[in-house]
Symmetry: C3
Subunit: 273 residues, 3 copies
């Protein structure tokens, strides 16, 4: 039950190590606190092994990667792997530059990733080894729609099986699969795309859900995705005349802060394929 | 028409590459989304050429420059120049340290800048090669006022001609000139100075306006400046008892998000000299 | 009088140099503006000496330290010391990694710190040279409570005397001591712990208070701590149904922006031991 996944986060306060971009890092921290987790950020190669050792899981986001932080990602990832901690990769902009694509592929190759979360363009880049990403947003031609849903579900299942990771593709329709089962999730609002970093925020929160639900990782990822989308709906309902994307950002984080298990259980809109 | 400048941004969704400081970067991204653009951030020298190639323009801000990101600025700038993309320089703190002054002067020398946007202290530093900047805010002695306006307009026109860039000096009165014409803009509120990064936000948005209006760059810059100032006025009118600078920041971004061409056209307060 | 401490900040607009983490840096800047100060951020070793020279004080926060910024902290600190500027250390995560603990201890050793502000776990780490910090939040076992208050006051006084710095330990009960006197402060709300960076914000603001009150540093630090806690109370009173930690963050900064000396004087809840 998704209800239980969220309640487990609040009960256990999972500590999540984030190596993430400096654009959206503050929102990632506040979303982790809002859902009941506890964030810590560290990207210095000499610091990351100690930090990841005291955490329950590692969230790697390549949104503003640099040569130094790439070393930090690799060292943190190897340490987390050795400790059996779950690792999430958010391949921001994979397909938009060779460095991003190569780094994401190398992290996939060298680390036992538990979850990969991105938009469809980024995930296709990882699946096919190259891409057509337009900046950090998904290409229109790539979008998951009701029309191409069956193909998209098959693609995500196949990539999950091939990569041995839970794949979470987020967009108008979200897909979460472990290779056997695929959650098709229809929560969320299109206006969330007008806020920077809702994807990054979701990645941080997803790691908290995975740490708090070690025996039920697939549902935990799906529950995190539903929580984010539902918070987007609740936040939108709380908008007042004159409000725009900056206030909407606050409203979404507030909605996560106030969400209880019952609300998530009732509001989650998904089917399992 | 300024109306058209804003509508062109919303219609074309220009992708802007930002190498900007980590203090205000999240607000820069959200302002770019609010006005209808799309932001991407990258400062790693090995990453910036690919990223700037898929964008329409480059926004360089030296607010928290470091040796590594300076290399990124230079490589991104040279690539953007080769591709004929517009480049904006925001010389944050030029005059406050030798490294900032030197870096800004070097970027001016080596890159065909399309726009330079800063406060009067920073712009004077670039024009005269040295400065008296007090931190990142304009010196009181340097402020553009109704009393010294004629001199200030002459200075900005001369520097625009000499530098072959559109110069945007922002403060209580904003001046935007290409060397021949000078927009004198009186939008905005003094309380905007109590929010960190309204200048950085404007620089990002200005690049979106320039990319979307390639045949009308001077008016595009002036329209971006008016949009920011007018959003400051609208945001202020939406303030409630107990609100302060943090809420004001949100209100301004929200006002940009909700601004349409008509509102801008009616609210823009400027004369052309 | 605390009233006077705040009014001196507003009257003198102290310029504060911050070398701080990229997670909470935007909030630190906005809090400095809210209380009447002026922030500048710079961590590049080649930039920091010039920047710190034009400022009144230096705020060093190791929250996302890296090899490059550690050099910046040291060079800025030595320059500030030479100029007689006050220096504050915020040892974020000391005890959580060897690099953080060692860096904090080295900064203590090599710089004449004016203030050290942290949670009880971090401060104990500095006092004993090693620690048990759980991430960046205080260990439950370490919390200052009414039960262990007498011991805690003695510990803080001793460490202040030994380190020749004003020690500010913040948590449910805040302690501020110069070795002789100890302010025991009971402002604040537990929900402030659900916002990232209230400690970082307080460190920035504390430096503004110290710069503006050079002859009264102990009371200045205590006044900054009371201002933050009282803003947390006022901000909480302004919360509406549906608001959460993101809006609360804005409300607290807004409350600092609107706070006057009278309000602080009446609202500060402290005793001196």
């Amino acid at each position: 039950m998704m209800k239980q996944c969220l309640e487990n986060v609040r009960a256990s306060v999972p500590l999540v190590h984030n190596i993430t971009n400096y654009v959206t890092v503050n929102d990632v921290a506040n979303v982790l606190l809002a859902c009941g987790g506890s964030p810590i950020m560290s990207d210095e190669p000499e610091d990351v092994e100690d930090i990841t050792s005291i955490c329950g899981g590692l969230n790697i986001n390549i949104g503003t990667l640099n040569q130094h932080s790439i070393q930090g990602m690799m060292r943190a990832g190897k340490k987390a792997a050795k400790l059996g901690h779950p690792i999430l990769l958010d391949p921001v902009g994979a397909g938009a530059s060779a460095l991003r694509t190569d780094t994401a592929l190398k992290l996939m190759e060298e680390l036992p990733l538990t979850v990969i979360r991105g938009n469809i363009s980024e995930i296709k880049t990882l699946a096919f080894g190259s891409g057509t990403t337009k900046g950090v947003d998904a290409d229109v031609s790539d979008r998951v729609t009701e029309e191409n849903l069956e193909d998209a579900v098959r693609f995500v299942k196949n990539f999950a099986e091939k990569s041995s990771a839970i794949i979470a593709v987020t967009g108008a329709i979200d897909l979460v699969s472990d290779g056997k089962t695929c959650y098709v999730i229809r929560n969320g609002r299109p206006e969330m795309g007008k806020i920077t970093g809702t994807g990054c925020q979701l990645s941080g929160m997803t790691m908290a859900f995975v740490v708090a639900n070690p025996d039920n990782k697939l549902e935990a990822v799906a529950a995190a995705v539903c929580t984010m989308g539902l918070a987007g709906e609740i936040g939108w309902n709380n908008m007042q005349p004159g409000d725009g994307n900056s206030t909407y950002r606050n409203r979404i984080i507030d909605a996560i802060y106030n969400m209880d298990g019952e609300t998530l259980q009732k509001g989650a809109r998904y089917e399992v394929r």
